[in-house]
């Protein structure tokens, strides 16, 4: 395509027209860039008071970032062809990013407060392979345009090209949006699988997401103190606190700090929970997609094609488990799990009551059995290995401290106190033993393991695309084998730790009938 989209009015004869981002984005960029540069500006300003022209430099920085924003808007355009989505960007280096439409696996629509004020959204198209890189991201479409694009991308083939509003704050359907020449039909039938209840906020403090906030705040304060030469000791309240801490005995001081951190983490975690998950809603649309929306300030809407779905993961971090909570994550091809899963869009349910998580997972799978089925444990030898592993790791601390006491004259009470980690490790190992198990339930392979984060995976048997049986020399002596089901979805592989050898063959044979038969001998 050499012709640039200038008018946008010419009828698209053969190739579809290049489309632009909304011009309202021109209002967003300067504010957004300034906000993003705020910490740096603040530092520059504070530092500039001593050197003289920091403010000037800060202003210069703002002008440059705003200029770049305008340039980015002017040079970005996109189009949706019959079998490709293309994004064209770049000023000096023109780049055209093309993605085959049948590779589109998820469409993610986010809108932060400024976006929402102006009725804009940011759309991210997930293709699986490229989700670590920027992928296909369009920042600054109108909400209607974003929805239209989502429907266009995900519900191809089906003649239903429909639009329903949800990224905006839930007004009545505006309708009348034309997608690809097909007038908007009534919204597709939709079943709500879950929606957030205010009571769930109770689980917020137990997610510990506030720890991240502490890290961020501490990092910022450290940078400010370092780069702007602000001495925190000169800051009144802080000085009062440090004086108070210096007066009381050490034990009480530690207790006070711990309590303060605890309260802060709890509050920050709760606020984080509300901001991230307020208005959460998961629904199934009859066009074969799961649709998730959430967010208090920044709204987020993720759509997953159900034909990409290979299972469900139910995860219970220790603290959350203690108060009877759990969360739910999709196992789908082209979706990230593990770290960043919540941002990666595979979240099916935020921390919520365990029963609710089980119900939602069952709804998504279309089968409640994998979530309730009784699991086969991995026996005594697997249990012994759990204890050995835990105690080996835990023993490092007291042994190391004892060596330091012996060789380097460290205090002798340290290794004795450190012995306290052994019962903790043993308790964790015991819990890991209780968790460990597997089952085949209907169309799913079910695996459960872990203690600090206990996870139950239900992986569709058709989603298993290979097996990896691994035995270390110790496992061979113990007569156990780690059975790993490989898949193209989620974590890519799901392990059954230390399965007794006699149990391993039946599991594989039952999960993928016939596959092993030629390689078996009896007796």
């Amino acid at each position: 395509m050499t012709v640039d989209a200038d008018s946008g009015l010419a009828p698209a004869a053969v190739a579809p027209q290049w489309r632009r981002l909304s011009s309202r984005m021109l209002a967003v960029h300067p504010v957004q860039e300034t906000l993003r540069a705020l910490p740096a500006l603040l530092i520059a300003f504070v530092a500039g008071r001593s050197s003289g022209n920091g403010g000037l430099w800060g202003l210069f920085g703002v002008v440059v970032t705003v200029g770049l924003g305008v340039l980015r808007w002017a040079t970005t355009s996109y189009r949706v062809g019959v079998d490709q989505v293309q994004v064209r960007r770049g000023f000096v280096r023109r780049r055209v990013l093309s993605i085959p439409r049948d590779r589109v696996r998820t469409v993610d629509i986010t809108a932060h407060p400024l976006h929402r004020l102006l009725g804009l959204v940011r759309i991210t198209v997930g293709t699986g392979q490229s989700d670590r890189k920027e992928g296909l991201r369009l920042d600054g479409l109108t909400a209607a345009e974003g929805d239209r694009l989502r429907v266009e991308l995900l519900h191809r083939g089906a003649a239903v090209a429909t639009v329903e509003p949800e990224a905006t704050t839930g007004s009545v359907a505006t309708g009348g949006v034309v997608a690809g020449g097909v007038a908007a039909a009534p919204a597709p039938a939709e079943t709500v699988l879950a929606s957030m209840r205010p009571g769930w906020v109770w689980y917020g403090p137990f997610t510990l997401s506030g720890l991240v906030t502490i890290g961020v705040v501490a990092g910022f304060v450290y940078r400010l103190a370092n780069e702007a030469h602000v001495n925190p000791g000169r800051f009144g309240p802080l000085r009062a606190i440090s004086h108070q801490l210096a007066r009381v005995p050490l034990g009480i001081a530690i207790g006070e700090v711990a309590l303060a951190v605890l309260v802060f983490v709890a509050v920050a975690s709760t606020v984080g929970y509300v901001v991230a998950f307020w208005g959460f809603r998961l629904s199934r649309q009859d066009t074969g997609t799961l649709h998730m929306t959430r967010g208090l300030l920044t709204t987020r809407a993720t759509t997953i094609e159900e034909r990409r779905l290979r299972g469900v993961e139910l995860s219970e971090p220790l603290l959350l488990r203690a108060v009877g909570g759990a969360r739910c994550i999709a196992i789908a091809t082209g979706l990230r799990v593990g770290r960043g899963a919540e941002r990666g869009g595979s979240l099916l349910l935020p921390p919520a009551p365990h029963a609710e998580a089980v119900r939602v997972a069952a709804e998504v799978l279309g089968d409640p059995r994998p979530l309730t089925v009784r699991l086969t444990g991995h026996g005594r030898r697997a249990a012994r290995r759990r204890y050995l592993r835990a105690l080996e790791v835990a023993a490092v601390l007291p042994v190391g401290l004892a060596l330091l006491w012996w060789l380097a004259g460290w205090p002798g009470w340290a290794p004795v106190v450190a012995l306290a980690v052994l019962p903790v490790a043993a308790a964790l190992a015991a819990d890991r033993v209780r968790s460990l198990g597997h089952a085949i339930s209907g169309g799913h392979l079910v695996v459960r393991q872990g203690s600090v984060v206990r996870r139950r995976y239900a992986l569709a048997r058709e989603g298993i695309i290979g097996w990896h049986l691994r035995q270390s020399i110790f496992q061979r002596r113990a007569g156990v084998v780690t059975v790993i089901a490989t898949t193209a979805a989620g974590r890519q592989h799901y392990s059954l730790l230390d399965v007794p050898v006699d149990l391993s063959v039946p599991v594989v044979a039952e999960a993928t009938p016939g596959l092993l038969d030629p390689f078996l001998i009896v007796g």
């Binding site: 091809t333 290979g466 691994r470 193209a488 063959v505 044979a509 039952e510 016939g514 596959l515 078996l520």
Partner: protein, 172 residues
Amino acid sequence: MTSDGGAGTAPVARLRPPRHRVSRRAIAYWTVRAAVGWLVPLAAQVVWLLSDLSNPSPHVLWLAVTVIVAAVHVVVMPQWRFRVHRWETTPEAVYTQAGWLNQSRRIAPVSRIQTVDTARGPVEQLFGLTNVTVTTASAAGPLKIDGLDHETAQRLVDELTSTTQAHTGDAT
């Protein structure tokens, strides 16, 4: 829906190792590669010995230790590896085994194969060897068969690609 696989019926069915070994020439190749690898530390030790002739006994001792370890590795490793690196294919599945102390067996249904690659390094070409790598859509690691002779590798690749083509879908 439970236990419709024929294997589940026998009381103790065990997975046997894959049937085929790799090419015998692979032993020679692994031997040469290991020997060349050991030349570097040996050469370094000899230089060290020559540079410090006033007190040679500890150097000679270390050199002797290195020579013995190297000899054992060069003699034992290729034989051992030849015994444990195995593979087998059926019209439905590919099955490989590798690892001396830690055993690793991989099975992939032919219907889920995405690519079949062959690779030959310059030295491997001298020995007439080819490595075959079979990948699936999972990022959890491919199946590798190292050290096949050219003809077997070619036959394997042809066989796998023709059976893979018979299957449709994106194999995820």
